[in-house]
Symmetry: C2
Subunit: 344 residues, 2 copies
């Protein structure tokens, strides 16, 4: 890199990454990490760089070509209403800023292919939102190297722990589900979890366990079943649970799809909801209120999560510092007709 023309001086106006690196005596890579909202920079260095930006301002390096008026959204897979809700949130911010939203999906894989990264680099979007999926560190580094910020939404696997992210307060949601069911008098409460590799799924289970524990209800390992957020798996695991010698009187299904599977198993076995079995879901997708009976579920604000992630991209692309690295939006229990007090 050629020496900055402002080297050693006190430059006027907003600084480029090279100028900040120069003044702070660090590498441009380190400055890039700070301006792209990553957490893997020492506190003192971060503070120094943020101080320089606060007093001088920051402008993106001149790019070979200007970035396009696009936001890239990468989905693990395009299935179900989950993706639609998030897209609606992203669209809201995109309309406001007159940005196009480019949607990609990985056909069920959790790490995108080489081609995808190359296409994004060629497109030069304002930034990338990666939903329920993880870029490998090498891939996110390629984005950073071109100054394309990345925000994770419901990260899974080991995507890039340093990247900014948005999500729902999953733990509190699991807690609320457990409290609702214990409050109705249930003691034999089963749970069908989501994929173990997914942070959101683990947090829901942990919150649920804590809720039972706080209510003095023991967690019976026979009533904990490991699912994958698919309807068919929910049905199969619910079959197993409802056929136990001492079956549960309530099931916490860790997403709405799993709850639909539980409904199916119950219908086949003649188990009535909520008379014989209480069911709590998680998501509150638009379909939840249209199940028969309407589903009690933990609402996560998917649209708002999309909005939050898109706002983070717009801020980062404008050279602003994120007020927080992780935006966590509140979940809320929505009580409908699938839960009832335990019958004597």
């Amino acid at each position: 890199m050629s020496p900055s023309p402002t080297s050693g001086q006190n430059p006027k106006g907003p600084l480029t990454i090279a100028q900040i690196a120069d003044l702070a005596g660090v590498s441009t890579a380190t400055v890039s990490k700070v301006v792209n909202g990553r957490s893997d920079v020492g506190a003192a260095t971060r503070e120094q760089i943020e101080g320089l930006i606060r007093s001088h301002g920051y402008r993106r390096q001149r790019r070979p070509t200007k970035s396009a008026a696009l936001i890239d959204v990468l989905f693990h897979e395009l299935r179900g209403l989950y993706a639609i809700e998030i897209l609606n949130g992203v669209q809201e911010v995109a309309r406001e800023h007159r940005l196009g939203v480019v949607v990609s999906e990985m056909g069920g894989r959790h790490v995108p292919g080489h081609d995808w990264v190359e296409e994004v680099l060629a497109r030069r979007p304002l930034g990338v939102i990666s939903v329920f999926s993880g870029l490998e560190t090498g891939q996110s580094d390629r984005l950073y190297s071109r100054d394309i910020p990345l925000v994770l939404l419901d990260p899974t696997g080991d995507p890039d722990p340093a990247a900014p992210s948005a999500g729902a307060s999953n733990w509190n949601g699991g807690l609320a589900a457990a409290r609702h069911l214990t409050g109705l008098g249930h003691r034999r409460i089963a749970v069908i979890t989501g994929p173990d590799r997914m942070e959101a799924a683990r947090a829901r289970l942990d919150g649920f366990r804590s809720g039972l524990d706080m209510a003095g209800v023991p967690v019976d390992p026979a009533l904990v079943r490991h699912g994958d957020f698919e309807i068919g798996t929910g049905r199969d695991l619910a079959f197993e649970l409802l056929r136990l010698a001492d079956p549960p009187t309530a099931i916490f299904a860790c997403n709405d799809g799993t709850a639909v599977g539980v409904y199916h198993a119950a219908a086949k076995l003649g188990v009535r909801i909520p008379e014989d079995l209480s069911v709590v879901g998680f998501d509150d997708l638009p379909k939840a209120k249209w199940t028969v009976p309407p589903l009690t579920t933990v609402r996560q604000p998917l649209k708002e999560m999309g909005t939050a992630a898109a706002r983070m991209i717009v801020s980062l692309a404008a050279g602003e510092t994120l007020p927080q690295q992780r935006v966590e939006l509140a979940t809320e229990l929505v009580v409908r007709d699938s839960t009832a007090p335990l019958r004597d």
Copy 2:
């Protein structure tokens, strides 16, 4: 327009629109209509232009900037699984051709705003797919003026009758639904339609009526209810139908959402499906097999419709002539557990 350098000569190699117009003695607008697959050009002129393209080949005019490796997909609204299925089809073609898919939605309006057209012109995609929505003629003309082809998917209203389109054989689907129900012995068969302004909805109703007629079953006007493809409306209209002095023993719901509404009304009134009431839907969205009981429905190949529309864009952008202006994909009745023979 300055005179073409090839004026009066017989140029070698692929022709531009200006050269074709010159040779055919027509305006460039007319040539543009033919190469963009529109039908509003007289047969003789069309033949002449296609003849020139066949013998010389055709190359797109030099554009001020190259078109971006993008396909724009415009939705009426991003709700429900319908949009997801279509997007998956578009993605398949996009991956093959390494194109980004830009998704826009109009928040429920059926004609996009001025801003949207300007943004598309600035983005310069390979082409635009407009789903369940209609561009005004002035808007599509602006796209054509920049040589951006447009393909309609399930057009509604009066979008641009000249534009190429893709869709399902809705009439045949309506016919199949009626035949299935009359074959089971039903005679009191109700229908809850979709929006009257939507071609697909009208075709389903017409096919259904013809099916009843061919089976010698009279259409009782009291059993025809005008819906809008919304679950809530389906529920309300089904309530009305099931409370008639002489209620129907079967309902054809013109989309799966409406069928979910019928399930709800039936559950509230203690009407059992299929014992007391047979229900046929239309769409076969992934959720249809997960209703309780699983829904008998007319499958429309939404994913394949998305694929077909995207392939039309790729062909038009490559300067090829479409083999057909309207691609219609077959529908198919999928029999599950929501229909049963009429009980004595």
